[in-house]
């Protein structure tokens, strides 16, 4: 079921730039061409999240096939919801999944050309996969 066009993207929404960049560095190991964007840190650069940074990351990662949005903790969810309530974006899917494992699973499946629903399912499935 590959997309004929672009790959599904991933947005990492985190309170910490270092955390999100670290996850992006990790998923780059998987190879493939999946667009991964980071929306991390407060507007002043400290710990926190920002609507503006999420909006910019969505625009960066969504190449037309949709984008999975992965928050690190609950208040990042509030930021994403605030944005999507104001500016609905049908191709953006906020996913409840572990930050590291969800990102790895999403990027691996997205790199196969899977459609948005399949990438969402892979990220959500990460909740159930045991680490060892």
């Amino acid at each position: 079921m590959p997309n004929v066009g672009n790959l599904v993207g991933l947005v990492l929404v985190s309170h910490s730039v270092a955390l999100a960049e670290g996850v992006r560095e990790l998923v780059a190991q998987l190879g493939g061409e999946v667009p991964v964007a980071v929306a991390a840190g407060a507007p002043d650069g400290g710990l926190g999240t920002s609507v503006e940074r999420v909006a910019a990351a969505l625009a960066e990662a969504d190449r037309g096939a949709g984008v999975v949005v992965l928050p690190d903790l609950g208040s990042a969810v509030l930021t994403v919801r605030a944005l999507l309530d104001d500016e609905p974006r049908p191709g953006a899917r906020l996913v409840d999944a572990p930050f590291v494992e969800g990102a790895v699973a999403a990027v691996a499946v997205a790199s196969t050309g899977a459609v948005l629903a399949e990438v969402v399912a892979a990220a959500e499935e990460a909740r159930r996969v045991r680490k060892f």
């Binding site: 190991q29 998987l30 494992e101 790895v104 691996a108 790199s111 196969t112 899977a114 045991r130 680490k131």
Partner: protein
């Protein structure tokens, strides 16, 4: 404990994927059936009543870290067959990067690549070659 009442196919012995046994032409039945078999998979036996199955043992050419696991997932996605990687008593879907890395398998480890489905032979050959390659 694994009943071996099905003759030569039964048990954990791998059927080779070179076409001598249970193999099918690589693309012959590709369109025939795809998703009916997704969940039911018996790692103990080779009940092939519902589709071709075969397996191949390989020695891992590299540790199964994130990079090779990503390549495994992309390679498996090309085929309709369900492919699993077995290490001892553990088994992982080749389509799940978390399951594959969860095997924590080191270079030199003997693993079994087992496929089930219309293009199982081709899928297993491709995955086995990938896993055999040095990192």
């Amino acid at each position: 404990m694994f009943g071996s009442s099905d003759g030569p196919r039964a048990g954990r012995r791998a059927e080779r994927c070179d076409g001598a046994h249970g193999g099918v032409p690589d693309s012959a039945h590709e369109a025939a059936r795809n998703s009916e078999h997704e969940t039911a998979y018996d790692t103990a036996g080779d009940d092939v009543a519902d589709g071709a199955a075969c397996a191949e043992d390989v020695l891992l050419g590299a540790d199964l870290h994130l990079r090779p696991a990503g390549a495994v997932v992309r390679a498996a996605a090309v085929y309709a067959a369900e492919v699993r990687i077995e290490v001892g008593e553990r088994t992982a879907s080749a389509s799940s990067v978390l399951a594959v890395t969860g095997l924590a398998a080191r270079a030199g480890t003997r693993v079994t690549v087992r496929g089930r489905g219309p293009d199982a032979a081709a899928a297993v050959r491709a995955l086995a070659a990938l896993l055999r390659a040095p990192g």
